[in-house]
């Protein structure tokens, strides 16, 4: 479908009814002057009201109604056909199998918003003055099962319109809850008020997507649309769900992250020549007490997000590794990752309920702690198939016998977050700006400036890569030369974005090679390890040619020199000792008792004989 109307970019001063936006712009000028923000953030649309209402009906209301109907039938005990179960997620091109989504919503919706999540939806015109549509959405078991269309001309909605116009949001929910209780004997826990511009933002993205049919474009466009919607407050919830409020508080008061800082400049995202892995997919399985569902993330045009419930029926009692193997084989996936959904719920629950850390250092540290804690619970809270070599049990056993301090279950989750978050600010600076350049030989494809405060993310801003063409022009493929050009680039950016403490240049070929390494699956089997040689050699050559360059790299270079002087083995052992909790041990073969040594030698001999026999 062709665009019916192009967005018109207008100066901020002409923008009406947007004091808040002006306020944001003003604060930007005070606090972050160097970056010129994309004017796209302040655009309005020239779609006609009828056109937008029609579009919203087709791409939002109809898929939503379909989903509500599926939910109602499941709760009524009816058997859904595949067509009935496959529903489109409103405003997106993705489809899910609602038989699987039903369970996820049942477990999560109450945590994300309210329990029960009964909702009253109001659609306003683009000026935010008049109610165009109103719906009451009723839930059972945290699934929407009823969508009641309410006539906007109902006299009892008049005060609602007045309150919206006057911004008296707090009066909406009690009033509407009382009315819905009277009419339908159901409670209303929250009210959603959407401006018609909300749909305009998504329509723009959708139109572009229909032209290009590229999901990557759609995702970037959707992010930009959400930015606009957030900045202009084209959608509002009253009362704000606790998790949303918590996230907003976390972002604005503690992390000092502002969504407008994530400015994306117009232009196509850099494309990567990902090796052709047609038909290969990544499956993520989520298992809880009484169900298991699978998310399909395979291929560039995959739109079936949630696999049919049938694929996981009866799998809820499988162990996570067994489930990963089953899913991987059933779906013929390259990788299958399974996660205990109860762990995810626990993290969400913590996020919504535990006291907020006092600063962004603590936020970052706590998040890292959570990630490491999840990682060390391999096989208990997550599993992967095929199992990469470093996670295989026999590798850990051999490491233990030889005294190498290694084992995913012994990951030092209590020490690493504190260590990294206290050391990095001291070494790099408490407040640093770092630039990452994605390079295609001597042409920058993308540039991003990341502002870190106390090791926590403060803001991320993309920098127009085309402005850096001259800085990198003529760069040869040698590490020293690339560092020189990285210096030039940061010097060029100094006036505009401030001092860049560290610049990182990554060649596109390196990412492609790494992706090929992961997707190739050589690191999953001891039999294929020998095939790794060519890839490793290519990677090493790329690195030697400066495919990954850091400037200034003084500390790394000196530490590398020191490690070589100290002995690479000693240095590597020290790093492993830091990363893994292992009491001082030289392994059973070295320092243990005679008996342990004999047993260990026998086990290793047995493994070798077994391997030889197998080969």
């Amino acid at each position: 479908m062709a665009l019916t109307a192009q967005p018109r970019v207008i100066p901020i001063d002409e923008f009406t009814n947007l004091q808040k936006v002006e306020g944001i712009r003003e604060s930007l000028e005070v606090d972050y002057p160097p970056i010129e923000y994309s004017p796209q953030l302040y655009e309005v649309y020239e779609y006609s009201q009828e056109e937008i209402v029609d579009w919203a009906r087709r791409y939002c209301k109809i898929p939503w109604t379909h989903m509500v109907e599926a939910g109602r039938k499941i709760l009524a005990g009816e058997t859904l056909s595949q067509d009935e179960a496959t529903v489109q997620i409103a405003l997106t091109p993705f489809r899910v199998d609602y038989r699987a989504a039903f369970h996820l919503l049942r477990d999560t919706l109450g945590l994300l918003v309210f329990d029960p999540a009964n909702l009253f939806t109001i659609i306003l015109d683009s000026r935010g003055q008049k109610i165009l549509k109103a719906y009451f959405e009723n839930t059972r078991f945290n699934n929407y099962v009823e969508l009641v269309d309410i006539d906007p001309s109902e006299p009892w909605l008049q005060p609602v319109e007045t309150w919206i116009r006057e911004g008296q949001w707090e009066k909406l929910r009690p009033f509407l809850a009382r009315k819905m209780q009277e009419k339908y004997h159901q409670p209303v826990n929250w009210v959603k008020i959407a401006n018609l511009n909300f749909f305009c933002a998504f329509k723009e993205v959708w139109d572009r997507y229909e032209t290009t049919n590229n999901l990557g474009d759609y995702l970037i466009g959707a992010f930009q649309a959400i930015q606009k919607i957030y900045l202009h407050q084209w959608i509002k919830f009253t009362p704000t769900p606790p998790l949303f409020a918590r996230l907003e508080e976390l972002m604005t008061k503690i992390l000092d992250i502002r969504i407008e800082d994530f400015a994306a400049y117009p232009g196509q995202p850099p494309s990567l020549a990902i090796p052709d892995q047609t038909g290969e997919r990544l499956i993520i399985g989520l298992r809880s007490d009484d169900y298991a569902v699978a998310i399909d993330l395979g291929g560039p045009n995959c739109k079936e997000l949630l696999l049919s419930f049938d694929i996981t029926r009866g799998c809820q009692h499988m162990s996570l590794p067994a489930l990963a193997k089953y899913l991987g084989r059933q779906a013929k996936a390259r990788y299958a990752l399974t996660v205990d959904y109860r762990a995810v719920r626990a993290i969400l629950y913590d996020l919504a309920n535990r006291p907020l850390p006092r600063n962004n250092l603590a936020v970052s540290e706590t998040s890292f702690y959570d990630i490491l804690r999840l990682a060390r619970n391999y096989r208990r809270q997550w599993a992967i198939w095929p199992v990469p070599l470093p996670l295989k049990g026999w590798v850990t056993l051999v490491a233990k016998l030889l005294g190498v301090p290694y084992g995913i279950h012994r990951l030092s989750h209590w020490f690493l977050p504190r260590f990294t978050h206290r050391t990095l600010p001291i070494l790099m600076g408490y407040h640093t700006q770092n630039a990452i350049f994605l390079l295609d030989h001597d042409r920058p494809s993308a540039a991003v400036v990341i502002d870190l405060l106390n090791s926590g993310l403060k803001r991320v801003v993309s920098y127009p890569a085309h402005e850096l063409q001259s800085a990198f022009k003529g760069m040869s493929e040698s590490l020293d030369d690339i560092k020189e050009y990285l210096h030039r680039a940061r010097f060029q950016m100094w006036d505009r974005v401030g001092w860049i403490n560290y610049s990182v240049g990554i060649q596109k070929q390196l990412i492609e090679e790494l992706l090929a390494l992961v997707l190739g699956g050589e690191a999953n089997s001891v039999l294929r390890v020998f095939r790794l040689w060519n890839r490793t050699r290519r990677l090493w050559q790329l690195l030697k040619r400066g495919a990954l360059a850091l400037y200034p790299d003084f500390l790394l270079a000196r530490l590398w020199q020191w490690a070589k002087k100290e002995g690479l083995y000693t240095a590597a052992m020290a790093v492993l000792q830091i990363a893994f909790d292992t009491k001082q041990s030289r392994g059973y073969l070295f320092m243990g008792t005679l008996l342990k040594g004999i047993v260990a030698a026998a086990v290793i001999a047995g493994l070798i004989i077994g391997l030889v026999w197998w080969l």
Binding site: R418, R422, Y430, P552, A574, Q577, I578
Partner: protein
């Protein structure tokens, strides 16, 4: 006319520095066409802002000086504890950036020195000053505002310590009035010998708490400038929430008439002081406070500005890294100051500073040391951190070698130190200091050292205070001293001559 101090803010440091000098009436009052300008920032370590002066402020000053017609602009820094400033500049990438701005980078430790005497100074009556500095027409000192655990704050006056060579920095780095040493007076002595023409303090992002290296960032968005470094420091201290004349260096300099340190006698231009004033958390100077579990400090008579200071740094680093080593390696006992109580037997010991080494030589940890390492190559489990005060980091290497394979964090810390400091085999911070200038007589008088040690053994027997020795708590153990089988033999003067035998610092055998 009252001394003027400008407080300025701006969208960045460059703009704020420009505003500050506009408030003072323009930098051309000091920088004339054809002048040679030397900018001395505080880049004394390989760390980022706010530990070191931000390069944006250096850039702002270079631009201002160039506009004023300066013929030569030099950004200069000096070594600290034997660590070259070249390393720190390379680490931060400052060298190329400053050169690209049209200024030159100069390192005092690679240049010539001029010997200067000033007999009326309180303790540092002679010193070496860089020729480059003495030849400059205008010297701009550019500190960054930080708290400091020995001097409350480290600002313009303290930044002048960075113009001395390491040998002179080592002198009087203690507070022992009986031996004529006072660290605070020493800093003011340097100011009395050579005063900067301008002081521009980077307070855009300052440091509070455990300064000068391990504190927290405070967003102030201010640049403070003045031609009187004492007044500038006084205003910055006021902005940091400290009382008038509370900073010891400001107070001493004010009392000695080297500048105006009384905030009531200073004219403040630009931003309002009261509006921007906020209380800064102070640095903890006591090494025992906030010490990580597993590190046990056995404190004797420690002098402030002496062992207390580098030990506090070590504790601050340990707060980040020691938890891991504690799990892997176990407890460590650190002896510091004169006559510290003895550690429990069979423990790993660090004797921190000359006082601790010389007053505990007869303790059991030294006579019958715990052994670490494999059975075929046992190593004695104590480390001597030599120096008064021990500013050098060579002991980290020794500790690392001793605990290799057991304490990964110490190994990594040794690696970090090794990344910046490549100590020669006989390296010591005091290398090159004439023996007679060593602070303690035992450094250069062998007979005195032997007698001193014997007398201590006789008069100060070890007294246990630990639960592990509950039966002996509070009792002396003279038999430990009586059982000494070998007489101490003074091997060589390692500090001044650098003839330390290979394999570690051994003062006695």
């Amino acid at each position: 006319m009252a001394t003027k101090v400008a407080i300025a803010t701006g969208q960045d440091r460059i703009q704020a520095a420009r505003t500050a000098f506009e408030c003072l009436g323009g930098i051309d009052q000091w920088v004339k066409p054809g002048h040679k300008v030397l900018i001395k920032p505080n880049v004394m370590t390989a760390m980022g802002t706010p530990t070191v002066t931000h390069i944006d402020l250096i850039k702002g000053l270079i631009l201002l000086c160039r506009e004023a017609g300066a013929s030569e602009i030099t950004v200069a820094e000096n070594s600290v504890s034997g660590m070259s400033p070249r390393v720190h500049f390379e680490y931060a990438g400052y060298t190329r950036a400053i050169e690209d701005l049209g200024a030159q980078v100069y390192f005092f430790d690679e240049g010539e020195w001029i010997y200067v005497t000033k007999p009326d100074n309180y303790c540092l009556q002679d010193m070496h000053l860089p020729r480059k500095l003495m030849e400059a027409d205008v010297w701009i000192t550019v500190p960054i505002a930080k708290t400091h655990e020995s001097t409350l704050t480290t600002l313009g006056i303290k930044n002048s310590h960075g113009i001395l060579p390491d040998e002179d920095k080592a002198r009087h780095h203690r507070t022992r009035p009986e031996s004529g040493s006072s660290l605070w007076d020493k800093f003011v002595d340097i100011l009395a010998t050579k005063k900067p023409d301008l002081c521009v303090t980077d307070m855009y992002e300052a440091m509070e708490g455990q300064g000068p290296a391990f504190g927290s960032i405070v967003n102030m968005k201010l640049i403070v400038a003045s031609s009187d470094v004492v007044a500038c420091d006084a205003v910055v201290e006021a902005l940091m929430g400290f009382d008038n004349l509370e900073g010891p260096l400001t107070r001493l300099a004010h009392e000695r008439g080297l500048g105006i340190g009384d905030i009531n006698q200073i004219e403040i231009v630009g931003e309002s002081l009261s509006e921007h004033r906020r209380p800064f958390a102070r640095a903890i100077s006591d090494p025992v406070i906030n010490c990580p579990p597993g590190l046990n400090i056995l404190r004797g008579d420690v002098c402030k500005g002496g062992c207390q200071m580098p030990l506090r740094y070590a504790i601050d680093v340990s707060n980040i890294i020691y938890a891991k080593d504690h799990q892997e390696f176990g407890d460590i006992y650190i002896l510091v100051g004169m006559y510290p109580p003895p550690p429990p037997e069979d423990k790993f010991v660090v004797a921190f500073g000359d006082c601790a080494i010389y007053t505990t030589w007869h303790y059991s940890y030294r006579q019958k040391p715990k052994k670490v390492g494999p059975w075929f190559s046992p190593r004695r489990a104590y480390v001597d951190v030599i120096g008064c005060c021990p500013l050098g980091l060579v002991w980290v290497h020794e500790l690392k070698n001793l605990t290799k394979g057991y304490a990964p964090m110490v190994l990594m810390a040794g690696g970090s130190v090794g990344a910046f400091e490549e100590p020669p085999p006989n390296f010591n911070f005091g290398t090159g200091v004439p023996p007679e200038k060593q602070p303690r007589r035992w450094h250069w008088d062998r007979k005195f050292a032997e007698r001193f040690a014997k007398e201590i053994a006789a008069s100060k027997p070890a007294t246990y205070i630990y639960a592990a020795n509950e039966s002996m708590k509070g009792k002396a153990r003279p038999e430990v001293a009586r059982n000494i089988t070998s007489e101490p033999v003074y091997v060589v003067d390692p500090v001044s001559r650098g003839l330390r035998p290979k394999g570690g610092v051994r003062w006695w055998r």
